[in-house]
Symmetry: C2
Subunit: 208 residues, 2 copies
Amino acid sequence: MGRTPAGQTRRKIYTFVRDRIIRGRPPTVREVQEAFGFRAVQSAREHLEALVSEGLLSKEPGRARGFGLPDASGYGPPARLVPLLGRVQAGQLTTALEEPDGYLATQSRLPEQELFALRVRGRSMSGAGILPGDIVIVRRQATAASGDTVVAMVGDEATVKTLKIKKKRIELHPQNPDFAVIVVADSEINILGKVVEVRRYLEDPKTG
Amino acid sequence: MGRTPAGQTRRKIYTFVRDRIIRGRPPTVREVQEAFGFRAVQSAREHLEALVSEGLLSKEPGRARGFGLPDASGYGPPARLVPLLGRVQAGQLTTALEEPDGYLATQSRLPEQELFALRVRGRSMSGAGILPGDIVIVRRQATAASGDTVVAMVGDEATVKTLKIKKKRIELHPQNPDFAVIVVADSEINILGKVVEVRRYLEDPKTG
DNA sequence: ATGGATACCAGACAAATGTCTGGTATGTCA
DNA sequence: TGACATACCAGACATTTGTCTGGTATCCAT
């Protein structure tokens, strides 16, 4: 019946669908139909197919709620959750991973198992903008390049430091003049991973 | 046939389903069945229903891919995307919001429209651990409390500062001795919002 | 005006998916 | 041992959902 200017409804349908996907469940064709007051399923379907042709949506034909966001859409890969660990003590990483304090949404393409998040204690990295209470997201790896910010075991607890590789030894540099450089033989270093992201929540992220 | 120790398979199914929801589309009962090698749909169904009873999953009966993550699950609300703006110039916030540089996954419960993200320029907030290139996530609001980290218009560009409310005037404090405090009459202040989160990507978040 | 494109509609069919009934085997515990 | 719960299976049915065919109305450019 009535007719909408070209592209207007289309755009709204796109935002609607995208929002639903991000929230965890794409809409069915009929849900789109109802949300926009179409009297025919086909109307919704045509818009949706058009959005797929434009590359704004992807879809798996024949499957219920088959729409998705294409990887190359600039909206980032689908989010996934990374376990947040309160603290990690000697040899306890695997155990800690099984009982996380919570989960953080990230957009990393890495397998979930390769990432974890850790709450920072102490001011030893303040000079690098990593403050107590901040959360670092870490990619698990046993080695790292000189200059990388890493999580390593120092004594019996995991700490964040800047890695410096020297000829015969390895140094863990704090970024704060009040703390001392830690020097270890390269056979003794125990690197848990490399920091790929730092986060700071200035208010409760759940309520805020 | 074979039988698995109590709860083991159940736990794996939970992780599987949760992961799929976060990625944007919950599995069907039959997808769970196949993923775990059940020879009957009902087996998968029983596990799923049990997870709902335990409160680990929510579901809408009768609907395709009807499972979801309960809000109170501790895994945070479903992720949603916040638009990332490269820079904001005078009066351009609304325009900028329509053409974001990308999107970031967050777990905020706030409506999507109330949040935006901004890339930080300059070292004026280094003392607060906010470095150039960092991303701040901002809740849109025209006022804020003294001491809050805010995004405000200074000249014709948005900048991040600490807000101090004095008797008759408002001060925007940098956190860096090299920068000067900005003093404005409280009628002239133009606050875009309050910083609720700071992020720093130490390697390319898409490849990393 | 006319052909084409867009936006929408009505009704149906078929596949995907949720749900159900009734069963077997294995473990736990009184 | 027997009652009970758990884990699983086989096969079917009903609903939801994707898909299709054929149509009307409006706008635009030629």
